[in-house]
Symmetry: C2
Subunit: 304 residues, 2 copies
């Protein structure tokens, strides 16, 4: 079960009723954040979620609207006496950018571990999440992310009983961990069936609609995608600023055959995204205009 | 005439309905900001004021909650194609702190001029404002500010006529500037009466209640002062964190005989400042609990 909250939908600058675009997920006690613009910590509080369980922060890129809220968030975590290390993932230069911003957040009481991305696609397993970072096409190095919650095969009570394993050892095996019993090692494959489909959320902002996005988003339960412009006359501007229109974002969702797509990262000049949605849904009917703090809980599918 | 807006009243961290403490003033087409925490630019937009005419930014100190919104504000000014230079005033280290934060705001289309404060009191005349910075007592170097709008003496039409000055030259003289006419220099003192009382706003946050504050705030039209704690049992915490209680702030206002005092910079744990105000007003009746975007227009007094 994965809780997902789109913390904001604004691009470029925070507005009174539109926070900067960022995503937060909660899974198994560990929260993950993608991007942290000015005001992201306020939106988290507004949602009623806590900054304390955030163990992982992924950055798409280092334009101000995607990272300007980081020092404030780190200070709030420090004030809450966080001790656990925090993992940050982002394009090359991450540790330098964070160190530079932290001139106003000195002496944090926790460690920061940096994972700097290189190349086209990079997988990172951290804090229960399988993260797939993929390079998109913006004016600076920028990555999209798949947040995947893998699901083990079905646990076979019959097989566990046949092996004579006590019930107390079933849970770790079910979670994919080997156990020792009676001087022997038992591995999960001995009691689990074939791997089942997990949960997949694809997130990408600040990019032209390049092929890799459709490839990486294939079959996603939820695809959160930038749609900077809805107006008919903004195609040139989208090209020039390396952003996407609502219609380009919908085409990507259609190619990837995603279950649902939310648009976000609206231009400050775009007042009401809803008025373009009829036209957008002619391209792909499962596209929704994202709103600040729009949320969903994604569950594993029913067993077939 | 000076427009004053208290943009926020929160200390330490921004909250959903309480922005970080900052002040904005508007005078003669040039706006001034004191401090710029995460979300200050949002509060300016919420108020309906513009970031574009901000020509001066004063910083009390460099704790995150007082400067974390700076890169975002500068980016917004840059996006609005500001070209005019911007003056920043603050304790020593200002240019280094700003340069470090600006790693996410590169290539701004305007110059920044830095005035780094030293010593106990420093006067700065800039963009029509007379600014008096004074060192207060916090855990790091921290300054309070008087924002003073001076007022020249009354213009004497009789004297100007007697000197034979054409009407077109009256305005610059009235504003305090010398003029040339018929090969001679005329100075303002030749046509102006004695200097009259101007407008004075005193602003101080993040400090213990030291004497210099009462001295500098003497007779202010408006005194905006931190009140971090209202609860009876928080005096020790105020001492320990080098902050003030509501009651200490009221004592300062009383000593300075200010016309009106607004409290601000509330601790996140303080939910409703109003419940302490009866007790506060027993100390000094002109104290008000500040609210986000509380505003006033201060006018020059009537001529006596």
């Amino acid at each position: 079960m994965l809780d997902v909250c789109l913390l904001g939908t604004s691009g470029m600058m925070p507005l009174p009723r539109r926070a900067l675009t960022a995503l937060m997920t909660r899974f198994d006690g560990s929260s993950l954040l993608i991007d942290c613009g000015e005001g992201t910590q306020v939106s988290i509080r507004e949602k009623g979620w806590s900054v304390n369980p955030i163990d992982t922060i992924c950055f798409t890129h280092y334009h101000g609207d995607h990272i300007s809220g980081l020092p404030g968030l780190l200070l709030s975590m420090g004030n809450a006496e966080r001790k656990k290390p925090l993992t940050m993932i982002g394009p090359r230069g991450l540790s330098k950018v964070v160190a530079s911003l932290c001139i106003i957040a000195p002496g944090l009481p926790f460690e920061i571990e940096y994972i700097e991305l290189e190349g086209q696609v990079q997988d990172v397993k951290v804090n229960g999440y399988n993260i797939e970072a993929f390079k998109v096409n913006h004016s600076v190095a920028c990555y999209g992310y798949n947040i995947v919650i893998p699901r083990n095969g079905k646990f076979s009570v019959d097989r566990a009983k046949a092996l004579g394993l006590p019930v107390t050892l079933w849970n770790p095996l079910q979670k994919g961990n080997p156990v020792e019993y009676g001087g022997k090692t038992y591995t999960p494959d001995m009691v689990l069936g074939e791997k089942r489909k997990g949960i997949k959320v694809t997130y990408c902002t600040d990019t032209r609609p390049v092929d890799i996005i459709a490839d990486m988003a294939a079959g996603a339960d939820l695809f959160i995608c930038e749609g900077m412009y809805g107006e008919d006359d903004k195609q040139d501007k989208a090209l020039q600023n390396r952003h996407m229109t609502f219609y380009e974002a919908a085409e990507l969702g259609k190619r990837a055959f995603v279950k649902e797509e939310w648009l976000t990262h609206y231009s400050p000049s775009l007042v009401n995204p809803e008025i373009y949605m009829d036209k957008v849904r002619q391209i792909y009917p499962y596209v929704i205009a994202g709103k600040d703090r729009k949320s969903v809980t994604l569950e594993f599918g029913k067993d077939e």
